[in-house]
Each structure stands twice: as C-alpha cells, then as structure tokens.
C-alpha cells in the first residue's frame, strides 16, 4: 500500500524524531513566557508563567505534537491514537502549531504597529513552533513529494507549496475494521470524546475577540485534519456507530452541560440562537438533503411558527388575546407551518430543479411582505406590520418560570440558559424525527426521488405526494423551532425572515448551513449552522469587510470540501468519484474495468 517512503528533508531519522518531540515540548513551554510588552493586545500575553489567549492555543498545539510523537518512540498504548501511522498527522500538527503561533506574532506586530512590539519570548515561540514542522518533514511520509516550483509570482509559489504539502500528507486512510475493545472502555472513550467536544465548542463560543477566534479556527481545522489523517476519526466513528445509543446520550448530555459551564447568560443566548438556527437547518435538510428539493424560502416556515406562537402567547399586542400553554403553542406553530408548507408545496412541487428554487424564493418573500402588510392599514390588523408582536411573555411550564434565574446547587441558570435547555429538547426531537424518517421506507423513497425521479415513479413511488410530505415535514419542524424563537427573542418582527441578510437565520444562510455542513447528515447541518452563526458574530471587528471575508471563507470551504464538512457516504462518492475508484478492495475481481490504474490510482495507492 505504500509508494514513496522518503522524507522531504534529508535528516537522520533519530534526529527528526527528537526534533519533533523536543520541538513540541519547546512550543508548549514557549507559551509560558511573555510575547509582548503591553496588555493592549487582547488576551494579555505579557505575563510569565501564565499563558493567556492565543498562547493557550500554541500550548495546546505543542502538547498535541508531544502526545502524537510518543508513537514514534513506540510508547505502549499511544499507537491506538494513530492507527494510520504518526508521521503524516505530525506533519499537519506541526503546520498547525506554526500557523497558530505565527498568526499570533503577525497579529501582534500589525495591530501594535511594528516588530518592535515582540518581546524575545515571542521570537522564541516563533522559532520553537517551526521545529516540529521541520522535524516532521524529516520523517518518511507515504504521500508523494514534489520538487521546487518552476516559476511564477508569490501566489503561484504559495499555491505550489500548499499543493505540495497536501500531497505530502496524503489522502485520509481507509482503515480495516478493528477488534472492538471492552464495552466499558468504549463507553468511557465516547464520554471522553463528548467532554472534549464540549470543551472545544465552549472555547469557540466564548472566545472574546476575533483574533482568538481565528486562531481557534486555524488550530481546530488543522487539528481535525491531523486526526483524520491519523485514522483516529474513522476509528472513533466506527466506535460510535457500534454504540449509537450511548453516543447520542453522551452528545446530548455534553450539550446540556454547556449552560452549566457559563456564569454569564450572554453565551447561553448565543447558544440558544445557535440551537434554533441549527434545528431549522436540520429541518431544511429533510427537504434539501433527503428529497433533493432546493427551497430558497425556507425561513418563512420559521416565521410562520414564530408568528403563530406569538399570536397565542398572551402578548398584549396580539389581536387574538389567547394564552395557550407552551405545548399548545408548539402544536399551533407546527400545524400552521405545516398548512403553509402544503399550501405552498402543492402548486410549486410540480416544478423541478431551478424552477422550484425560484418559486420557493418568491413564496418566502411573499410571507415577509404579507406579515408586513397585515398591520390594520394595508390589510387586517393581525401582525402589527413592521412593529411586530411585542412583549411576548416568558414561558411557564409546570410552574417553572423561564424568565427567572434559577439556582441549582452551585449553578445558576439564567433566562437564556433555561431556553437553551428547552431548545435542546426540541433539537433532540428534530434529530430523532430526521434519523428515523431517513432510515425508513419514506426516507429511501425521498433519496430515490432525488437520484432519479422517473425511475422512482416506475418503482411505484408517488413522486408528488412524497415530495409534498418532505416539504410539509420540513415546514413543521421549522415551525416548531419558531415557537421557541418567538419566546426567546421577546418579540416577532418581519425583518429576520428574508432571503438574505448579514445575520442568520435567513434562507440563504440556512441553505449554506446545510450544504456547508453536509447534505443528508445529522451532524453536518448542526456543525454548519454553528460555524455560520459564530463566524459573522466573531468577525464583527472586520466591520465592513465582514461579509467579504465570510464569503471568501465559504468559497474556499466549498472548493476544498464540496461534499460538506461532514460528508455522508453517498455525497463523498458523488464528489470524489475518481479518487474512489481503485480504492474498494472487495471489487478486485472486476479486473477488466481496472487494468489501467492511471494517475488517480497512483496517488491513492499510498493510502
């Protein structure tokens, strides 16, 4: 399975190994000295012995390198971390450490105005963080090596080295299944992974300034790549697939633990907004990911749910004057969105492809304009037009007032933390609906329609009816999320329910969350929505360039991972057709089709 086993840099192997380990430790240690002289740079990097802000990221990267270099020395037990060998992941981790550290140094010198602002500690960190990368380049890599760039400008040379680096790291491995461990050990591992996930997510959400968030993205992005290349991710995926119930419970518990880690209700409000956005994205995934219907007006269903719940919430500005309990409001919101979905779907679902997208875009705008007009002047007084329905009272479920802070032992849960936990239950419900619908006769019919509608009809599938069902189910799920959203945000106004805007949720962001995260998966839209919510929120310091940078980031992501961050099995094959062909080992008997390996065969042979 291996092709080239030569290092990119001619170093003696023991020296390379030592350089990686020592470099990792040195990088970690360099986070303990001060890098700059003034606390003007956010995070305060001026204190010796106390890493702050971005230094913590450098520390983490250094420790990860040290951990992953242990298999180089054959330390017992650590080989489990790198089933596909430690060399390639170390290369990526080395790049991660160098990138995070150098990003910090550059940020310091540009923001404070000059290299003079770097104390010797900063230079030490810069040099130390390069050592593991150099060492890892001296390790034999299975990927292919590439020579010097022929010519060209800075851009071309950068592109060349980035491409060379990617090729040197090589493709992610396809591992043979391994013998399961002890049941309890596996459960513990799942719990540990969930706790680690919570830590990473919480860290990302509570980052206080943009520089730290960018550093965080660099480290988690490259770190995830390293773990994937190490084969650890696929090993963990196999493990979680064996214990699906435990995994779901652990993930749910980790998410529920989030508000307990916060003393300030601010990040709980970020959390609940992320959950609402993510849940709606998952609902849209039924329509886009499973049935393959591009709906560009989906946010209208969220709006229908929110307005319906607001109208029966007992708000003083609601013309109905009704005050239903939450379960009643939730049912009303779902039912209203469902009806709206069927009303919109019935005429539009006869269209296919782009035509459907255009028509749903139009209907989404019709909703917003309609609620703007139902103000008692241009139409009947229902929604108060642009003023919206305000003063929506807080929920009170079984005497638990969501508007008040509650204290449980050492923890205090504020208003948003209460709603976070409620929304988490809604998310869990939507996840259950999605996964059960997906893995059923109906879900298979949806995928069949997406693949080839004519063939699906010839198999006895009533295409129109099933597409309408997908549309209605997706609408109802968004409506449910809308009912919570109405209460979280005190008021419901028409503005957020538009096609495109600078902040989520809007239809364009929702589609982007699904596509970016990975169509047809559960984790994909949840992760995609989290990123799409956090990136604009954390990039506020870029001011007017915020959307530009955001757009560039999206284009790059789709260029690098067209199947989405979390690809389902099908999408992965769809987008990486040529990489896949010679890989499947079980098909070696189809010799005639595979006599010529070709260039694609050569590059993947190193896997």
């Amino acid at each position: 399975m291996t092709t080239t086993k030569s290092p990119a840099l001619p170093l003696p192997l023991p020296a390379a190994k030592a350089l990686v380990l020592a470099g990792g430790l040195a990088t970690a240690a360099s986070a303990f000295i001060h890098w700059t002289w003034t606390s003007e740079f956010p995070g305060d990097l001026t204190i010796d012995g106390y890493p702050g802000g971005l230094q913590i990221l450098t520390l983490t990267a250094g420790l990860l390198i040290a951990l992953f270099s242990l298999p180089l020395y054959g330390v017992k037990g650590t080989r489990w971390l790198t089933p596909a060998g430690p060399n390639a992941p170390l290369l990526v981790l080395g790049a991660a450490a160098a990138a995070t550290t150098w990003f910090t140094l550059i940020a310091i010198s540009t923001e404070l105005g000059g290299l003079a602002n770097l104390e010797p500690g900063g230079w030490i960190a810069g040099v130390a963080s390069l050592l593991p990368l150099i060492g890892a380049l001296g390790l034999p890599q299975t990927g292919s090596t590439v020579g010097l760039p022929s010519s060209g400008g800075v851009l071309a040379i950068t592109k060349h080295y980035l491409g060379a680096f990617t090729r040197l790291v090589g493709p992610n491995p396809d591992l043979a299944p391994v013998k399961p461990l002890n049941r309890w050990v596996e459960t513990l591992i799942i719990i540990a992974v969930a706790a680690l996930g919570l830590t990473v997510f919480t860290y990302g959400i509570v980052t206080e300034y943009g520089e730290l968030f960018i550093g965080f993205l660099i480290l988690t992005g490259l770190g995830t790549w390293a773990l994937m290349r190490a084969g650890l991710i696929s090993r963990l995926t196999a493990l979680t697939a064996r214990h699906r119930g435990t995994t779901t419970a652990a993930a749910f518990a980790a998410a529920a633990a989030f508000p307990f880690t916060q003393s300030d209700d601010h990040f709980a409000s970020v959390g609940v907004n992320i959950l609402i956005f993510a849940t709606v994205a998952l609902g849209l995934n039924v329509v886009v990911g499973l049935a393959g219907l591009l709906d560009l007006g989906y946010v209208a269903f969220l709006g229908v749910g929110a307005y319906a719940a607001a109208l029966v919430s007992g708000s003083t500005s609601s013309p109905t004057g009704l005050h239903l309990p939450f379960w009643g409001a939730a049912l009303v919101g779902m039912a209203a969105a469902l009806v709206f979905g069927v009303v919109i779907g019935a005429p539009t679902l006869r269209l296919r492809g782009d035509y459907l997208a255009i028509v749903t875009l139009g209907f989404g705008e019709i909703f917003r304009i309609a609620v703007n007009s139902l103000d008692g002047v241009s139409g009947p007084k229902v929604t108060n037009g642009p003023n919206g329905i305000r003063n929506i009272p807080d929920l009170d479920i079984l005497g638990f007032d969501f508007g008040q802070a509650h204290t449980f032992g050492a923890f205090t849960l504020g208003r948003f933390a209460n709603y976070f936990l409620l929304m988490l239950l809604v998310t869990a419900f939507v996840v259950t609906v999605f996964s059960r619908a997906n893995d059923s006769r109906i879900g298979r019919a949806w995928v069949a329609i997406r693949e080839d509608e004519t063939a699906a009809q010839a198999m006895g599938i009533n295409g129109f009816k099933l597409k309408l069902l997908a549309f209605a189910l997706g609408a109802a799920l968004a409506g449910l999320a809308g009912t919570v959203m109405a209460h979280v945000s005190y008021s419901v106004v028409p503005d957020p329910y538009q096609f495109a805007g600078a902040v989520p949720p809007n239809s364009a962001f929702l589609v982007a969350a699904v596509v970016l995260g990975g169509m047809g998966t559960i984790a994909g839209p949840l992760l995609g929505a989290t990123m799409l919510y956090l990136i604009p929120e954390k990039l506020v310091f870029l001011k007017e360039y915020q959307l530009l940078v955001f757009g560039i980031a999206l284009v790059l992501l789709m260029r690098l991972r067209p199947e989405g961050l979390i690809a389902n099995r099908r999408a992965k094959l769809e987008f990486h057709e040529k990489d896949d062909e010679p890989a499947a080992p079980a098909e070696s008997d189809d010799a005639p089709a595979r006599t010529e390996p070709g260039p694609a065969g050569l590059t993947t042979a190193g896997a």
Binding site: S440, R441, T454, M459, G460, L473, A584
Partner: protein, 283 residues
Amino acid sequence: MTTQTVPAPRPEGSTAAAPLLEASGVIMRFGGLTAVNNVDLTVNKGEIVGLIGPNGAGKTTFFNCLTGLYVPTEGTVRYQGTVLPPKPHLVTSAGIARTFQNIRLFANMTVLENVLVGRHTRTKEGLISALLRGPGYKKAEAEGREKAMELLEFIGLDHKADHLSRNLPYGEQRKLEIARAMASEPGLLLLDEPTAGMNPQETRAAEELVFAIRDKGISILVIEHDMRFIFNLCDRTAVLVQGQKIVEGDKETVQNDERVITAYLGAPLEGATDAAASTEADQ
C-alpha cells in the same frame, strides 16, 4: 390490485383464459409524428413475448404507453381486464414493473436499498409509523429486508448488498435493475433491451435469468435487438416497424416474413416498396 401469482401455467395452450396484458389500438402521436400507430398486443400468463424492430420503430414509446409514462393518444391498455391508470406509480402497483434501456438505478444508494425502493408499493408503512417505530414497523422492515435479500440471492448479488450500485460492473447493474423491478412483485415484467452492451456469455446468463423469472410465474415482455436472444427466449414475437405492428408469431413466422427482412436488411433495388428501406440493419 393484488398480484399474487400462481405457479406458472404451461406457456402454450392457456389462451382460453383472459390475457394478462391487452393493448388494443394504441396510438401515440407527438404533434404531427405518429410514433406508435394502432398497435394491438396481448401477453398471456406465463408467456415471454418479444418486441423487435429497427431503431426508431417506436418500441420504447410503446413501452412507455404501457407503463403510464406516456398517455396514449388513442387506444386502451388493460391489465387483468382493467384499464390501466395513466400514472407510472399506479401502473407499478397494479402489477407491471419495468427496466430501462439506459440503466436507471439509484446510483448512490446501496444494492440492497435499490431493491428495497422497488418494494415501495408492496409496503405501507408511512411516516408516522416510521417515527414511532412500533413492533409492526420493525416487523415490516425486517420482512422487507429478507425479501430483498432473497431477490439478491436469486440474481446472485447477495454478496454485494452493501455496495453502492454505481460501483457494480455493467452486467450486474442490469441484473440489479431486474431485481429492483421484481421487488414490486409484478405479474408482468417489461424488459427494455436487457442485453444491450453485453458479451455473448453475459447474454446467455441473461437468457437463463429470464427463464428463471418466468418459472416464478411472471410473464415477460422484452424489447431486444439481439435476434438470437429473442428467438431462443420468446414464445411469441411481434415486429414493430415505423410505429406499426407488421407481423406477430413464432420464430419461423417472423424469420420468414418478407416485410421483416425488408425492414431489417433493406429491399432489393428493383422491388423497392414503401417500407422502411433506409432504416439501418442492426445485428
């Protein structure tokens, strides 16, 4: 609407019973073009009927009229005595399944999932029962999987149940398409050029497969260009030329018919008729 099929009766001699499929006077016009002109065709229970003709003769159009993909301009198609509804999914649930000339599998679904989709009309579990996951649902899913695996065993693809159908070699894709069609438990199976692109060995294997399907009590109507395949297989063969059925009968009748030879090989120059002399000689 039930399609419980009894063990195959003898292919010949059962003409006294009502035909399984009865197309009478089917005309299909696209604007000024008459693609299928007044075609009558019957398929009896347990029969294998062939439909041949030069390219562009209207065979696939006729197929599409039978399966509800097209609504015939004139004429009726009856299945077991009732007129077929003009919707493909209703035709399938009535008991007619088909394959496509250019393979139309669900490429990104697994082999097993493809067959499970084929069972769609024979299962009833809706969204609610899928969400609740009651015992009835689990039983139906398990049963569906079992039946699908039986079909995969029948065509010899059970060892590839978890492969994506796009990764199968061509011949196996054809087989899988047949299994997917059979999953709807049809009384009549329409095969549109099942051996296109196959080598002689694969064609022979396909022949055996078709006989085995007939032995399960399923009647078959097959479009083909491979004459040897058709004449080995079919109890009866109908020849379609320029939208019209010019002859129907057993091997000898068709092979010795002047008009068929003219249609396929062209007429001798001096005796040129108005038949489709210019159509290409296939095979």
